[in-house]
Assembly symmetry: C2
């Protein structure tokens, strides 16, 4: 994972505005020197933060030049006041940047149900816009963190349409990470020129293959937001879907987004293990995903992994409870390349002993082969530890 | 919760057969002096233990005279050998009791994936049948325990059809407790005379309103079994559905089963709090249940309850992610009688302080009022604690 990247046409800032009680950075800004094409995905929770509601409305125009993000307060469960606070954050930012306020998006993460401390935020915005710099990405990545233990940055370069293209992004996660939506917060920027439809389609595909394939606790946030800005300053011929350039751009997106998504799982609250759950030979993609998520979210499977106990019975039980038609007598289970279960029963004590050793590793893959069809799905998750409970029992205090 | 009950026409036994390494009781027997009407519900997991497969087959005849139960080993994930072991447990029991082996049911609970130690079990069965007594219910209740910290017994008496009827039962739970099925193991006995259809319909209704309304970790076992034997020795006129007698019998069932189900939640692995989640004024029963289970199973809600943090934002977020259409701006949330959220926003700091005090109690009710319709559902659950993780990380070792 890279520590940072530079893109002259994008500037970043991250400062402490006093939203967090501990004085850590809590206000970030991403700014494109020219208006950019934009695409985004948001939580599918019926309860949405004010910032998500604002962004979904503004994104209809597919244009964005700045994103202001605060951590420490989710601005969710805050009613009409929350909506007007989010709009005011955008308006103040636009005023100081001298851009159209409709080109400013807002994102928030933190505690739900408390009004934003708007006096502190508006006092801090001039300092935030004043510290914008191409070299300040790291500060921005830190300012969006909540219970994350490290900042998450990824970037790649490639040649597309005759020019070198850079794509980079930052993300934050740690808890409330759950399937079928974007991650908590992810922001990507690129100097590529790409038309808005192609950007939207590439981005949605990228989210589906990265952030939507991880899970930490099966809980779904009110604030999940993933945004991408493409400002075209690389001067490449405009990328259009269906072309080779588009394929290259998709590949670039996938690499960066997969790295960011993996970083979220590695930094799962209290996590000590990174686990890929691969479900193979299911009757359909939907079946494969359902089984993989059920196994990945099972508290009993996750605590066994924490305890380094090759308790495959729990994996079998979780698979069986996914609501998917399957035949237990056909199921094979592997820990990395070690076969632990053959046709629904143990491969023997020797295999279980070896599996105990595989579980000592920080990273492993659990494969559940249903032996029924051709579809597969892979989900990344982490273990469930006493620290997860401690972090979340004490979060607001 | 009563310590025990007596019913002269039922005998019980509970002994140590050496299935558990720690020498605790692990083999139980329930015996009716005459063949009884029987009804049952089982796990809906696609992976079922050998005992569940055997019982489902035998229960088609609706007759049962004895149930042999082992703890310490689930006899699941054991293939064909598991099926023949379960049948052999029943056959040995039938031989010693001199009854038809098709009248014997089997239940198992414990670790998945290891063959039953059949030598120890067959050696112990004569001692088990030899110790049958009307006074040994307590021993049977103890012998079905796994990580339970106390034995769970309930009973009630009432007059039905001109006679005093007794209904009593034992259960075990502690983990892997999840909606839409029976509990881990529950066995009920009554001297009532009731026809088989009425017994089945009353029992299913009872399970639906007790064991299917609790959740501990959202995981679903391969072994869940609930059985009832009604041997008619009370000499009442036979209870038939649609009558007043039937209503009285249902009421009796509900009281006993609700007490047993509540005991399972109170004894949830590592639990420190007993929490009822009531969802009111939903558009439909299905909506109300979906929201209640989502809140009851949310790790973030459950850890906040453990931390005594009135973090209603997590309750709101869980409700919003239940896949049910709702309007956040109409939602009210109460902790016991204290209103914490009004129309989707905080009722104020004073209310949050008071809520912190409500959370100090060992028992509380969280009400989520959707303000949309007339349906409601209540689910009982417990908090998620570091001890839950520790118990399940170390279970097999």
């Amino acid at each position: 994972m890279k520590k940072s990247f530079r893109l002259p046409s994008f500037k970043f800032a991250g400062i402490s505005a006093g939203i967090k009680k501990n004085g850590k950075k809590d206000l970030a800004l991403i700014y494109s020197t020219v208006p950019a094409q934009a695409a985004g995905t948001f939580t599918t929770n019926r309860v949405k933060s004010a910032s998500v509601i604002l962004d979904q409305e503004r994104l209809r125009r597919n244009r964005c030049q700045a994103i202001i993000i605060n951590s420490g307060n989710a601005n969710a469960g805050t009613g009409k006041r929350g909506i007007s606070d989010a709009a005011r954050m955008a308006r103040e930012t636009a005023r100081l940047l001298r851009i159209d306020e409709r080109l400013v998006m807002v994102a928030s993460t933190g505690v739900i149900g408390r009004p934003l401390p708007m006096d502190r935020i508006t006092r801090a915005i001039p300092r935030l816009t004043g510290s914008l710099s191409s070299g300040n990405l790291r500060q921005a990545a830190e300012a969006i963190m909540t219970t994350d233990t490290f900042s998450k940055i990824s970037s790649r370069k490639t040649r597309i349409g005759g020019q070198e293209i850079t794509l980079g992004g930052i993300t934050k996660g740690a808890g409330m990470i759950q399937p079928r939506m974007a991650t908590m917060l992810a922001f990507l920027v690129t100097d590529a020129a790409i038309d808005r439809r192609s950007l939207r389609s590439a981005f949605r595909w990228g989210v589906e293959n990265s952030f939507n394939r991880i899970t930490i606790d099966g809980d779904m946030s009110t604030n999940d937001t993933a945004l991408i800005l493409a400002n075209g300053t690389a001067g490449n011929r405009t990328i259009a879907s269906g072309t080779r350039d588009f394929k290259s751009f998709q590949a670039l997106l996938k690499e960066v987004m997969a790295e960011l998504a993996e970083a979220i799982v590695r930094d799962g609250e209290g996590a000590t293990k990174f686990v890929r759950i691969l479900v193979k030979r299911a009757r359909s993609q939907a079946d494969a995903r359902a089984v993989a998520f059920k196994v990945a979210n099972s508290p009993l499977v996750k605590t066994a992994i924490f305890g380094e106990d090759p308790n495959w019975g729990r994996i079998l039980a979780a698979a069986g409870s996914a609501g998917v038609s399957l035949n237990p007598e056909r199921i094979d289970i592997y820990f990395d390349n070690l076969q632990l279960v053959r046709k629904g029963v143990s491969s023997g004590e020797e295999a279980e002993k070896k599996a105990g050793r595989v579980l000592k590793n920080k990273r492993l893959r659990i494969t559940v082969d249903l032996n029924l069809g051709k579809a597969k799905a892979e989900i990344s998750t982490c273990d469930l530890t006493p620290d997860y409970v401690k972090i979340n029992a004490a979060y607001r205090t």
